[in-house]
Amino acid sequence: MSEPTGYGGLAHRGDGRGACDRMRNAEERSRNSELIASTHGIDGPTVAVMSIDTTAEAVASEERPPGEPVARLVHPRAIRWLHWINFPLLMIMIWSGLRIYWAEDVYALGIGSWQWFAFFPDAVYETLDLERRLARGMAFHFAFGWLFVINGAIYGIYLLATKEWRHILPDRHAAREAKDVVLHDLHIKKDMPPQGKYNAAQRISYTAVMVMALIIVVSGFAIYKPTQLYPLPLLFGGYQGARLVHFWMTIGLGLFFLVHVLQVIRSGWGNFRSMVTGYVIDRRSPHVTISVAGVPEAETHTTEMATEESKGGGA
């Protein structure tokens, strides 16, 4: 189980049930099926799996010896470049933005006059050299901001043009599945819900990040040129509203960044490497792969029978 099972920040491994890896999911399923089959004295699942094998040989062997690992492209070059260029840009924007925020650091968490946490403690300012740097902060912010916006715009256009967004936008199952992913991550639930390139929690997180990035840019422009871009600030309830939204989006992106890094560490080297090289090693074996595209009606049906068995027994 040395290979990555997810492709991004909220990827999963641990028990090796990465749903991107067809082999492992299929194995797991057939194992479950067999388990249940034996409990119930049914040998159907085995037959079903055999029949899947045949299909897979025919459809997905792709002119290579069965079982030989291949490298599968998960992150196109453009995504990798845009991702890695975005990283330092975002850091510079947050760092210079905090230098600006320092000059009027009025936000806090609390109720009424009771403050639970004031942004930010002096130690934070001192450690990050944020004090008395408003002018330099603005100079960096309004220079690198262009690069941040351009990079983000290219990313957005790329997602639209290549339909890559389909891998990222949550669908109607996402909320329920994301809950299962979180439970799985917390070791409360054993199974991961099915997923494509990203699991449901990743889809929701990445989409949220894109939405936050859009809001942070629009609110940023509203603060930057409130007269020239009027009535843009009204979107946020005015100039100060835009400043508040801009601040909270920064906190949101900061929290995402923390979780993202933690999950990348958790996911392991193969996952990190995929954002550098673009590829993951795909060990799926045609012998146990459930083929998807172009499966003849009969085999699909057999597959479903197998899983029906597992459902019947596992409930």
Binding site: A71, R72, A135, G196, V276, T277, Y279, I281, V292
Partner: protein, 262 residues
């Protein structure tokens, strides 16, 4: 697992099916190349960052950043210059906090106060007392005054438009691109581009609300606008000087943007 779920799983996997694959040997070659590219990228980023920090300082910030601020000024003056900030009902106005006292710390005899008006060659055009400004067409504006630090407040200013004041000297100074303002002691000074100064919301303010300005807010005459940061709204004007070159600006010399436009 239900039939529905299986179909979903199949659909999800189908999304990945057209992803290209390469043999592991080829992957190793490309992987090495990718990491080398990444290392090179890191190096370039590091060198670029150091280069930027090491550039000669112009007004307290590295030259490329200063040039970017000027580029931004060009962009925004071309995109949407001349737009006006919203004005608010008088009921929304609040007292404004006192933020800076640079240039107004000296004693002042308001009765003896005058403004020197100088042409672009340093020639004295006029020396005006407060009556001159009282005699200009008066207007009120309730606008959001924005401090570069981040706070803002809705202030009720009363006074004359700079453009009405300028009409007196338009023939004498011709098409000068800039105008500068200074406190009587010369300690605080700001530069304005003429088109910003001529904006109908650029005011030579005499009053806050209906009361004459108090000393902390720039009595007897100050600049007010919703379209530039407060750092440009000089208090206690002592000199108004037309200029062909960008006038010196106290905060622009201290790393801030010269234009400081909103």
């Amino acid at each position: 697992m239900s039939e529905q779920e299986l179909t979903r799983e199949e659909q999800l996997r189908a999304q990945l099916d057209d992803a290209p694959t390469i043999p592991v040997s080829e992957f190793k070659r490309r992987s090495r190349r990718s990491f080398l590219t990444g290392a090179a990228g890191l190096g370039v980023a590091y060198l670029g960052w150091n280069w930027l920090q090491g550039q000669p300082s112009v007004g307290g910030i590295p030259k490329p950043l200063r040039e970017t601020l000027e580029f931004n000024e060009t962009v925004w003056t071309n995109v949407s210059e001349g737009r006006s900030a919203p004005e608010h009902p008088v009921s929304k106005a609040t007292p404004i906090q006192v933020n800076g006292r640079i240039g107004i710390r000296n004693e002042i005899d308001l009765a003896a106060w005058t403004v020197r008006v100088e042409g672009p060659d340093g020639e004295l055009l006029d020396e005006l007392d407060i009556a001159t400004f009282d005699a200009l067409p008066q207007r009120d504006m309730v606008i959001e005054h924005k401090c570069i630090e981040g706070w803002s407040s809705i202030v009720h200013w009363g006074g004359a438009r700079f453009s009405d004041f300028h009409a007196r000297y338009a023939d004498a100074v011709g098409d000068v691109p800039y105008v500068g303002f200074e406190t009587p002691d010369g300690l605080y000074y700001v530069g304005w581009d003429m088109s910003s100064a001529m904006h109908p919301q650029t005011m030579l303010a005499l009053r806050q609300g209906t009361e004459p300005l108090d000393l902390d807010h720039g009595a007897p005459l100050r600049l007010a606008t919703p379209n530039k940061y407060g750092i440009k709204c000089l208090k206690r004007i002592g000199v108004i000087r037309y200029a062909r070159e960008r006038p010196a600006d106290y905060w622009a010399e201290r790393s801030y943007d010269w234009y400081a436009g909103l």
